[in-house]
């Protein structure tokens, strides 16, 4: 048996993954354990967890693979500073000490950290390095159900590459084309995230969610001024407007002057129609680039499958458009498409590409992305007792019946069962669930439970068998990474007055028979639920459907804004008590809010920084 530990760390979203003879055993992000969103530190807890799940000590691991190559990254830094000199001296003087002290000696640095897990671990040569985008491509292709596929990776930046095209065939994966730093779609999107006043590397979702409220008024301006976009989707950014290459911000004054407003200060400035139009414009540009790229690749290589990874692959609206364009018969997106997934990709890349091992099967290998920790009933009861919770245990069938009943009575439910998800989406393991038919639900969930901006949309989980009846989509979307429209016959057409409403005002118009998950443009980010990967969640939605004729639930991550998704029983209980959630279901245990000791209610939302 050969075991490989994959690690991603030190930039953002640290994570660890374990594979045994090519099979994925476990994967988890450090933020879930450390409770620091996007935690970039060495993933000490995640490594401990995956080793425990595999029943292994670190000294028993055969290979340890880091997800990117520090020397290559250093080369890019030096060349970038030289190219832009004398600009960027401040950034240079800040980065070099860190590089010369730590990052350049990453192997030793990693070795020192790894030794702390097991003092018998002594072989530094077990540590290997994979290229950042190769790790992404490997995470997208090797676990996919395709024997042959094009693989497109798009993100901010790794070493040099920001975009790569690869072809995967059986157990071979080869990168064919690359776009290099500073020309980056991920960084372009992040520049607009920064400009609209959200946090870079985590607020990109907000820009995507804000886009349907605006009109893409600035799309042509962006394409004309900020970049040179070719017909095949390749592009170069006009660096006159950006300062991310060597500066300490994403954009500069020329950028603000071009659009006519300064960078929004989230503490002082309200979101206005201008920001919504900016969001709509950059989203439209992103979609155009991704569509041009996929179109030219489909024509050039004539391969019917496409795999996607990298942070930009989390832009589910763009993914939905690729699918709608019918350029590819099938699309598969790595659920942990961001840097966390690089840990898994690095391990898989080593297994298949360095050790030349064949793939075992051509079925989805991600196990529904349920690759994190799970807790049994005895552990849960012990924890609940120590937390002084008021709870009751039921048999599994009763849990399903009772929870479905609570949901149909418009109660909000914290749903905690099975293994934790790997990747940024909650998929029915650590989720907050609600009734999508309720008109008040979107506002209530946003303001009273998630404590976040009222414009943010919610996503539906739907039984796979019923997908076609409710959405304009007929492909599996188990990882909630495809966006499609609510079926026409479920939509409620807006009258002329409503149609003319602007921005957030449109939010109050009932747009379909499942308004809580229907965005203002009738779109929804869909998760298809499959009995094979999550039977308990499937049974719950099926029971809800029996009660209501609706096979859809609102599914949002079990956390408040700025908080990593809950991982442990304590996290779930604290979040339950700190928000207005009505019911908490932990495997076979059910807790009702009104039955809890009021003194346990905590001020919760202020614990986490707004992103």
């Amino acid at each position: 048996m050969t075991t490989i530990l994959g690690i991603s760390a030190f930039y953002h979203d640290s994570a660890a993954a374990l594979i045994e003879d090519g099979s994925i055993i476990a994967a988890a992000q450090e933020e879930r354990f450390s409770r620091k969103k996007h935690d970039a530190n060495y993933p000490v807890n995640a490594v401990d967890y995956v080793l425990k799940e595999g029943g292994l000590k670190l000294s028993q691991i055969d290979h340890i693979v880091f997800f990117e190559k520090p020397f290559l990254k250093f080369e890019r830094l030096i060349e970038t500073y030289l190219a832009f000199a004398p600009r960027g001296f401040k950034s240079f003087s800040m980065s070099m000490p860190i590089w010369l002290r730590e990052k350049l000696f990453q192997k030793k640095y990693l070795f020192d950290h790894l030794k702390k897990h097991d003092e018998n671990f002594s072989d530094i040569n077990k540590i290997k390095f994979s290229e950042h985008h190769y790790s992404h491509a490997a995470s997208a292709f090797f676990p996919s159900p395709f024997k042959e596929s094009l693989v497109l990776t798009l993100d901010g930046v790794g070493e040099w590459a920001t975009t790569t095209v690869a072809i995967g065939k059986e157990s071979k994966l080869k990168i064919l084309k690359e776009i290099h730093f500073p020309h980056s779609l991920g960084l372009l999107y992040s520049a607009f995230t920064y400009y609209t006043g959200f946090k870079v590397n985590s607020g990109e979702y907000k820009v995507m969610g804000l886009a349907p409220y605006g009109r893409p008024k600035f799309k042509d301006l962006i394409i004309k001024k900020l970049m040179d976009l070719k017909d095949d989707g390749s592009f170069r950014l006009n660096m006159k407007y950006f300062s991310f290459a060597t500066g300490l911000t994403m954009t500069n004054k020329k950028f603000s002057d071009l659009f006519g407003e300064p960078v929004r200060d989230p503490k002082r400035d309200q979101l206005t129609q201008f920001h919504m139009d900016i969001a709509a414009s950059i989203q439209a540009v992103t979609e155009e680039i991704v569509l041009k790229m996929s179109k030219s690749l489909a024509e050039e290589y004539r391969i019917k499958n496409l795999c996607l990874a990298g942070g930009v692959a989390l832009n589910c609206v763009a993914n939905g458009k690729i699918l709608k364009d019918k350029l590819f018969e099938n699309i598969w997106i790595q659920p942990a498409a961001g840097d966390a997934g690089g840990s898994l990709g690095a391990a898989l890349a080593y297994w298949h590409s360095e050790l030349n091992m064949p793939r075992k099967s051509y079925e989805d290998q991600m196990k529904g992305s349920y690759l994190g920790p799970k807790f049994d009933n005895s552990h849960i009861e012990e924890k609940l007792k120590s937390l002084k919770a008021n709870y009751k245990k039921y048999d599994t069938k009763e849990v399903i019946t009772l929870t479905a009943k609570q949901l149909s009575n418009e109660k909000t439910v914290g749903w905690f069962q099975g293994r934790m998800e790997f990747g940024p989406r909650a998929l029915g393991g650590r989720s907050i669930l609600a009734d999508p038919r309720s008109e008040k639900m979107q506002k209530e969930l946003n303001l009273k439970i998630k404590f976040r901006e009222s414009f943010r949309p919610f996503a539906p989980s739907i039984l796979r068998d019923d997908l076609n009846e409710w959405f304009e989509l007929n492909n599996d979307s188990p990882y909630m990474l495809l966006v499609s429209e609510v079926k026409k016959n479920k939509q409620i057409k807006m009258n002329e007055k409503e149609e003319n409403l602007f921005g957030i005002d449109k939010l109050n118009v009932k747009r379909s028979s499942i308004p809580a998950i229907t965005h203002v443009d009738y779109s929804a980010r869909i998760q298809t639920v499959h009995r094979e990967t999550n039977p308990r969640y499937y049974d719950l939605i099926e029971e809800f459907k029996r009660n209501t004729n609706c096979p859809v639930l609102v599914n949002t991550s079990f956390n408040v804004r700025g908080e990593p998704i809950v991982c442990s029983i304590e996290d779930a209980f604290n979040c339950f008590m700190g928000t207005n959630l009505d019911v908490l279901v932990l495997e076979d245990f059910i807790l009702f809010k009104e039955q809890q000791d009021k003194s346990l209610i905590k001020d919760y939302k202020n614990k986490f920084e707004l992103d």
Binding site: A40, S91, M96, P97, I98, W99, L100, R101, F105, G156
Partner: protein, 50 residues
Amino acid sequence: MLAFIKEFYEFLKERKKYWLLPIIIVLAIFGILIVLSQGSAVAPFIYTIF
């Protein structure tokens, strides 16, 4: 340290970027000075491209 120098040399050879060597030597000298002259290095940077 010897292993690091060997690996870095192999990297320069592989990438055919020997011209980086003098820059790195100068940087290393400056780097040592910087490291010696300050307690901790922090990176309050907006995007982690370092």
